[in-house]
Amino acid sequence: MSEPEAEDGGIAPVLEVARLRKEFGSLVAVDDVSFAIPSGRSLAIVGESGSGKTTIARMIVGLERPTGGTITACGGDRSRPARSARDRRRRGSEIQIVFQDPYTSLDPRQTAERAIDEILRLHHGWPADQRRARIEELTELVGLDSRQARALPKGLSGGQRQRVAIARALAAQPRVLILDESVAALDVSIQAQVLNLLADIRDETAVSYVLISHDLAVVRQLTDDAIVMHRGQLVERGLTAQILDDPQHPYTRRLRASVPRPGWKPSRRQLVPAHSEGEVA
């Protein structure tokens, strides 16, 4: 993996989003959102369904086109679609994403090994024995045994598929890895393994994570900074620890109070009438 472009201790942002906006018809899914991720730091985008957090991720990786604003990764603009295969490949080596639902993000005809191999060939052009060794490392890293590595997605559990997706994304050795609720569906004992794994990978490679999550404990474990999204707007930003210890915005406070913990008593929300948030648009 190439060294960060900035030689001044990683201050230059590896990813910068400015005045980002996305409209779907009359719905403003993302409303004037700006943030920057310094090289080597990791950012959490916290929010619930409909907050716009996944739309931001999709715009960053080029699956949605912004209505307004700019996205800059490693110094290059990516607000507009890639113009060539080379450009796409370059973008792929900058940012990779692991989606929430591995059932739809893997090619059903590809084994884990072949899915990883494809990325290694495309991005690094390594010879077969070097690819083979790396495939073994990556499948081992994410905790897939040899049978699972040779299985098609339909023969794997959701958690196993997610590990394939993580291994595949890591194969490109990206500067930024977007984790879109990527550990949410994993069993607790496996989730801890994957979170430790992700921490190790960051220590080794200085990859930056953009962790999109509603799970505040996971957010604390993996990120330095956080932004809180609510209905398309950024309502709070700061150090992850600070936001979780001392949330300022009423929505962040409600989110924090909703997390089950010893002695927790669930309560009916008084502030917002149920129907205003209960309806599907």
Binding site: V188, L195, H214, R268
Partner: protein, 341 residues
Amino acid sequence: MTGAESAAAPARQEPLLSVDGLTVLLPVEGQQRAVLRDVSLQIRAGEAVGLVGESGSGKSMTARAIDRLLPRGAEVQGQIYFDGADVSALSGSQLRGYRNKVAMIFQDPRAHVNPVRRIGDFMTEALRTNLGVPTADARRRAVDMLTQVGIEDPERRLRQYPHELSGGMLQRVMIAAALLTEPALLLADEPTTALDVTTQAEVMAILDELRRSYGLAMLFITHDLDLAAAICDRTVVMYAGQVVEIRRSELLHSDPLHPYTAALAAARPEIAQKASRLRAIPGRPLSAFEAPAGECAFAPRCAYAQPTCLTAVPELTELDDGLSRCSRAAELRGHLEAVHV
């Protein structure tokens, strides 16, 4: 329940539901494979019991077996008694009546409603067809119940279709529908897992309030130890198709009796502080059929395993006022506390 009562043997009063030595095998690729192995648990009237475990632990299958919803070809050993009656003997109208008394709500409400039928038809069906309640009366009860679960404008909701409601609201409709037949036991299979965390808090509050006010017992199935501990009187922990611990919920974190329970609690990241390293459990959770015969199923992943753990399947044994399926439970007592690094 009060602290003085026993978690292991809810004595004095006959349990509402009693599961005794339940073993279930399902046909997979032409073979009968175990999904549950010798599961025993009791639920008293009005009591909330958590059922916690990871994938393949058998927690959902236990609920399905209780509600007689096992897939075709399932082989069932052991007994389930509800209100003194053998559940396996029920059929026809008796079985429908039983399911009105033992209602179930699921993780994904959309998979359990007919998308082309209106909410009102769905909600009142059991009342009209099984209990012979006149339609107008059934709708009145549905409106009242929707109000109780905090849904505004209930008349309009009855005329809507499932796709017109958000996941959180549809789950509240499912709870209301389940409560309409005045059940004595609610089987709740991860009912909030698919919901946002603030919506989960709301739905749990509604469930908890109504459960208490109706004196309803509940088996609450979840992968979330913290959630179970917060809302249930007792918690049953399952691993590889077996019950490994039954404990009063408030002692689950501070004084667990099985290494797996402690390991599960310790593996979860904490919201209050970042761990330098999470205490992950090595390996992966086993399904019942993968568990090696003649040894403790958790032993290969257990930090406290000894050679003797691989020579026999430990019995579920009473300890203090809980139950543990660990041959070292007594000697490990007090050393298993789920402390974070």
